[in-house]
Symmetry: C2
Subunit: 332 residues, 2 copies
């Protein structure tokens, strides 16, 4: 069993990838990532936005890459992740949590891929052209257009994310997709029943296809609710490993650090299209994040060691699994 | 029983409304409407277009209203329909066959209503934010966003059309809507099985709510297929009257006069979003329209008389039913 010091040492030498971040971007967050030793982080640059709104978010990132080049760098390839580690920077992988940014244009997928959006969730909570989110009244499953989106994403080397996607759309997409989709930030409903959580069957179906599942960090949807601690988070990782093995599990914190709760931003997230009907209570309800602050991410390795994890399992779950998966999806 | 001369005389004195036209607009069509004695016609100004594309189509109509003011006029109220009749012009009621023009913005419904789009089909053939079309892989039903669209349409006095809409979305919308929706251009599957046709149950459910059903004019979906004649079209009207009574049945020709088949336009209609996968074969397959040319619309009244229709029934189905229905929807 690794000691705390050994765990910290291992963490500092490891590649750590966080597959979902929606923090209040800016220098404070970039510094927190550095302090937390995060090698690469997937940041949401499209949630409810249309094409132009998404482009504006991406342009902001390109400016940040220049302005804060001492802290962050753009990830355009697997090689860049190693470079970020070597240079002691945090690599940014842009993601969408909704395909609203492509509007109804399949060709926009290529535009966004070329702008280095390498991970896209099919839909966020509600229905869009491609499929249904988990709060939708009825789940359409993957639509005919959605099939074309999934095909194009595979061709272009874009990760297909099914985290907030409804059960039928999730099932259809896992079955239909030529390349394995992922759950970039989910929790298992086998540990706590919730519409947002994924069932054992869904997780196993994804794993059978070779898809990654990363645990999010949302107290209310964990077994102990808002009393959950970092060890409970590691228990979630163990539950996922029992379902799909230790090569397909990762960390997807869903950190929203720097956003007050309630805040106009979280209110926007939690209304359909950002302004219409309210979908969930999480814009204002209390939410404990047991993984702690971004700057303290190293504590996760200590908790893994405390629960008797091997060094190999720690390295895989902290980052190598995501790296291997990205390699399979990004590189055609 | 009315003689042919009496039927022609009745037609010329009657208000005749055609609830769906997607012809190759321009002076030839406007002259054909005049020759055909059509009082008002609902014209599609949005099918796959986004907000800006739809606005461009509407601007073209505003220019046509000015340039061809001897033939056509804009309909902004029930009163305008009577004015068109009196002035021997054809009134134009703009419609959408898809809510793609509002994109994800409920407020755009007000913009389009103020531009005099007074009839909107929730979706055209496939899935959109509001619901599913009849060719979609799985029918989502009316979505949560769709409910808000339907509520806003009722508030704004916009007719909600369910013609190309899938069965579950049709059922949900009829049940949910505060104001009765319509089928602006359909045929009954009780006479010919087809995914595009509406079942007796759907037609009766619509009628029970006070919604209008108008017969379209599409040989392949009629009992006699492309051998259908104008009397077969009148038989369809009788079938609908048997289901919902003679106060809720009208004419919705779905005339696409002036467009070649095949043509780039019909190819665009028959691909998802106008360019993606092909949905139906009708872009190039032979299609007989038993109602005949727009300029010969008077023949419909002769066929009605030939089948023994009373003058009252003729007047209602030719136009008064639509007029009464529009009054109920448009005027809050």
């Amino acid at each position: 069993m690794l000691s705390e010091d050994e765990a910290r040492q291992l963490y500092r030498e490891s590649i750590h990838i966080d597959s979902l971040n929606i923090s209040n971007w800016g220098p404070e967050i970039f510094q927190a990532w550095r302090k937390g030793g995060i090698t690469a982080v997937s940041c949401t640059c499209g949630l409810w936005e249309d094409f132009k709104g998404t482009i504006a978010n991406i342009v902001q990132w390109k400016k940040w890459y220049e302005e804060y080049s001492d802290l962050i760098m753009e990830i355009t390839s697997i090689e860049d992740v190693y470079t970020a580690k070597k240079l002691n920077k945090t690599g940014v992988i842009l993601n969408f949590q909704n395909t609203s940014g492509i509007e109804d244009q399949l060709d926009y997928l290529r535009v966004f891929r070329d702008l280095n959006v390498r991970q896209m969730q099919l839909t966020y909570n509600t229905q869009n052209y491609s499929g249904a989110g988990y709060t939708e009244l009825r789940d359409s499953g993957l639509t005919g257009f959605g099939r074309q989106v999934v095909d194009h994403m595979a061709d272009l080397g874009i990760v297909c994310d099914l985290s907030h996607v409804g059960p039928q759309t999730t099932k259809d997409t896992i079955e239909y997709a030529r390349k394995p989709p992922c759950f970039s930030h989910v929790l298992p409903s086998g540990m706590k029943e919730s519409g947002r959580n994924k069932s054992d069957e869904e997780i196993q179906a994804l794993g059978a296809k070779g898809g990654m599942v990363a645990a999010s960090n949302f107290g209310p949807h964990m077994k102990m609710g808002n009393d959950s601690k970092i060890d409970d988070y590691v228990e979630v990782l163990e539950y996922l490993i029992d379902l799909v093995g230790e090569d397909l599990v990762g960390i997807g914190s869903d950190a929203s650090e720097g956003h007050a709760r309630p805040s106009p931003f979280l209110e926007w997230c939690n209304r359909d299209k950002g302004y219409a009907r309210k979908m969930t209570e999480w814009g204002s309800a209390p939410v404990v994040k047991p993984l702690g602050n971004l700057a303290d991410r190293e504590d996760l390795a200590v908790a893994m060691a405390r629960r008797g994890w091997t060094a190999e399992r720690m390295r895989k779950v902290l980052g190598l699994n995501w790296l291997n998966y990205y390699k399979r999806i990004w590189e055609n």
